[in-house]
Amino acid sequence: MSKITDYGFLFQQMLGTKNAKSASVIGSFQLSQLNSSSVQAQLRAAGIDTNSAQYKAAIKEMTQNGNGAMFTNIQCIKNSMKCYDKDGDYINPRNGLAGLVLTDENAGRQKRIISISESSKDEMFELTKKEFLSENGVLNGDTTKRRDVYDNLYRKTKKDDRLAAGYTMEQYERAYRQAFISAVKQADSNWEIGKPIPSGALNGITRESVEANLKKSGSLLTQASVDTRI
């Protein structure tokens, strides 16, 4: 079946008969003209699916300012659409993952404890311990690899649960760190963050021992007690 495409807008532009008000530069049109048959034909001719969630997300961003007199063009719409996935969710250009933009709509769903990958918890426990020992308990934001652990967790988690998974993981991360601090203070009551950690102070701490003392309290994981016996 042959595909019929309306290229009428090109002739209109060549002959200068197109509404001069809505087109200042060839190919540009005002946002208020988006739903006109002429612009819709241009979009279709350019291969843009105006029913797609990507298109709707791109147009939503463009019209955020609510000014229909502003101009756009096909290439801008296409570029903008590339930033969203098929569901219209924004894709993080750094890691290619969607579902991590916090909005007013999904903020309520973020703060909940969900089941997360055991291997990611393992990875976080080991990293927290390694960095705690190498930095003497200081949180060194210049060298930490904690973001890598979160990225790996998100890759293992379905899109709609990624925000909650990150929130849950942070609760575990804090619990591991607090357990390490308690253990070192038990080994040396005068210890302060930044001072050398007594050798073997963390030997008795395992991920399981920390998590066994965690209890869910609303949207938080709280420590019932810390067992730091060695």
């Binding site: 087109a23 200042s24 530069v25 060839i26 190919g27 540009s28 946002l31 791109a58 961003e61 463009m62 955020q64 300012n65 007199a69 502003m70 101009f71 756009t72 063009n73 290439q75 801008c76 719409i77 296409k78 570029n79 903008s80 590339k82 930033c83 924004y90 993080n92 250009p93 750094r94 890691n95 993952l97 991590l100 933009v101 916090l102 903020a107 973020q110 308990g137 200081v138 949180l139 060194n140 934001g141 210049d142 930490t144 904690r146 973001r147 979160y150 990225d151 998100y154 990624r162 925000l163 990150g166 993981m169 942070e170 991360e173 804090r174 760190r177 607090q178 601090i181 963050i193």
Partner: protein, 149 residues
């Protein structure tokens, strides 16, 4: 009358002592860090390159973000754009970028651990006021994160 005044005075003093003993230790210490991105340019509905800044050493045993503020140094004639800020944990917040230089507060990161790499980029909205075929946005952003510990 004198006895009543004395009792009221004693009660007030007792309250003050109680406040000093129990409330003061609860008040957490605060700190902040501030970092500036490279110049971010985005055109035609596309994204700029992303700029990563690190927090440096973060104080305390259990730090928690209380406020995130951005100072945007906007180039003149910049077309509309969106700012994206990603915390070390990977949470992203977006806000419409200001058209003139100034401060904007960004909410949603409160309670997170501020330690690590923050990533900031902009996305040109793909619209212009005057029909530019290549709408463009240019801004340099300073991130200021306040936290308690």
């Amino acid at each position: 009358m004198k006895r009543v005044t004395k009792r009221v005075f004693a009660a007030v003093m007792a309250c003050m002592m109680a406040c000093l003993m129990f409330v003061t230790p609860v008040l957490a210490a605060t700190n902040n860090f501030s970092k500036t991105t490279v110049k971010l340019n985005a055109i035609s509905g596309g994204e700029s390159r992303y700029s990563s800044v690190t927090s440096g050493s973060v104080s305390g045993s259990n730090p928690s973000i209380t406020k995130v503020e951005l100072y945007c140094n906007v180039a003149s004639g910049t077309d509309p754009y969106t700012i994206y800020v990603e915390s070390p944990k990977g949470t992203i917040k977006s806000i419409a970028g200001p058209t003139k230089s100034g401060n904007v507060t960004i909410t949603g990161f409160e309670g997170e651990n501020p330690s690590g790499t923050w990533t900031i980029w902009i996305k040109n909205k793909g619209v212009s006021y005057n029909g530019n075929i290549y709408p463009a946005s240019t801004v340099t952003i300073t991130l200021k994160v306040a936290y308690s510990y």
